[in-house]
Amino acid sequence: MIGMIKKPIEEILGYLEGKKRILIYGCGGCATVFHTGGEAEVNEMKKVLVENGKEVLAAVSVPFGEFSCYAPWVIKRISGYMEELENCDAVLMMSCGDGLQVMREIMEEEFGLVKPIYPATNPVGHMGGGPRIFKEKCIQCGDCELGKVSGICPLTQCPKSLLNGPCGGVRKGGKCEVNPDMDCAWVQIYRRLKELGELEKMDEILPPKDWSKTQRPRVLEVEPLSPGE
């Protein structure tokens, strides 16, 4: 999931300066889990924008389970708000950057609309866990190392993304040099490999990472799911 926090309202109002008629669009995916773009937040944002002199043409709440980065679902839902979309001065997207840019492309390519579109959130990491605590797990490196390191990602859990063991800065008791509240990623990997009886995996010198696999922007082409999904 993409962990998110809300942007400060002052920043959002700054983007919307001079734009009176606004369409708000939420997200039923990660933004609902992180309370940055679910139904409650969309309704709250409508209230705040109206208090700040805006005219909210539509505040589109998206039900939980419908993520706003999946274009077929966005096209289906926004098609019911074409008048508002055509008449608005700006769209405020309460999703992550994926959702915002998907919406922008849909507006341009499906409907021929070139309009300002602004973010309401700051994405802060690819996270997993819950229901309350979420932690960053994956940096989408394109060449997953988890099979070599007992299922603990050193690129994400180690602030220095080290591949061959801990740095010399490990604090007493095995705590991380950079985040003293955390166990050093490599101490964690060592303990788990030991428990699995696979410590010899740590003896292997892993070569320099192929960072070209993270060269952005990345594109994937897949077989679409069945119609209606």
Partner: protein, 296 residues
């Protein structure tokens, strides 16, 4: 003119290296003064590389100053600030200007320095860096292309003999030995039993690698506690802090020199390892006093 460090490593003598910390700016006179003071009194001089993630005059620049003045420099390279391209380029330049010794380091985290918003690089780690230097030594870059004019570095790495827990550190250390180092400069040591255990462990794997124990000059209780809290990999034990506390007002530095000298003398007399690496942070002019206190 200083002897080549790689020759000294094979000489069997008790080796002494020291570090000089560069300045934050281009007013390099103090650094030059430290270099002139120490260049022929120690076997080699390290210049630190944005130590503590604080922006300073570069190690490469400081090493050139040492080389030009007839000393023997050890270039410190961290993985924090440069990717594999610029590391290789810098090494080509360094060798072309007579710098033949390199210490391969991970690099202190940006968070602890004065540019915490910078983007950390860590394109490679210290083990891969050792391998990189080895590959350059073989006449190619790490993409496999032949070099037009090669290098032949003497390769060093760091170690932390008193890390807790020690086992993951030792596994990484083994990898450094496998990757191919000629010498080790350890983080500050205070527990000589830990040091001896570490040296025995290392020699069981590779007898040839020379180990130099890190010695930090303490100047006060406050400094010792500050090091413990802020500098990764250093832990000044309670009994050393007590010794510093015993020093009369204003005599903390003298006590620190005495402590450092005593540590070095014990290491030398008991033949615990192959030498020492003296880090008199901010007080490079005291290195000679430490050597005198050690009877060297």
């Amino acid at each position: 003119m200083a002897e080549p460090f790689r020759k000294i490593l094979k000489s069997g003598k008790f080796i002494v290296t020291a570090e000089v910390g560069p300045t934050k700016g281009t007013n390099i006179q103090k650094m030059i003064d430290h270099i002139e003071l120490l260049k022929l009194k120690v076997d080699a001089l390290n210049i630190t590389d944005n130590q503590g993630a604080i922006m300073k005059y570069p190690s490469l620049g400081g090493c050139l100053l040492i080389e030009e003045r007839g000393g023997e420099p050890i270039l410190q390279v961290t993985c924090r600030d440069r990717n594999r391209l610029s590391i290789q380029s810098d090494l080509l330049f360094a060798f072309s200007r007579g710098i033949e010794n390199v210490l391969c380091l991970t690099g202190d985290a940006l968070k602890m320095g004065d540019h915490p918003q910078a983007k950390p690089v860590y394109d490679i780690d210290s083990v891969q860096l050792i391998q990189l230097v080895k590959i350059l030594n073989s006449g190619k870059d790490i993409a496999g292309s032949k070099l037009n004019g090669g290098v032949d570095f003497c390769i060093g790495a760091a170690a932390t003999p008193s890390s807790d827990p020690i086992e993951p550190q030792l596994i990484k250390y083994r990898k450094k030995l496998t990757a191919g180092v000629d010498f080790i400069q350890t983080q500050a040591v205070y527990d000589l039993d830990d040091l001896r255990r570490f040296v025995d462990y290392s020699r069981n794997i590779n007898e040839e690698v020379k180990i130099l124990a890190g010695i930090i000059l303490l100047s006060s209780v406050g400094m010792a506690k500050w090091l413990n809290e802020n500098i990764p990999g250093i832990l000044v034990p309670g009994d050393f802090i007590d010794k510093l506390a015993e020093a009369p007002e204003g005599k903390g530095l003298s006590k620190g020199i005495e402590i450092a000298g005593e540590l070095i003398r014990k290491i030398k007399d008991k033949e615990i390892c192959d030498g020492v690496h003296i880090m008199a942070i901010g007080r490079e002019e005291k290195v000679l006093d430490i050597l005198e206190a050690a009877g060297i």
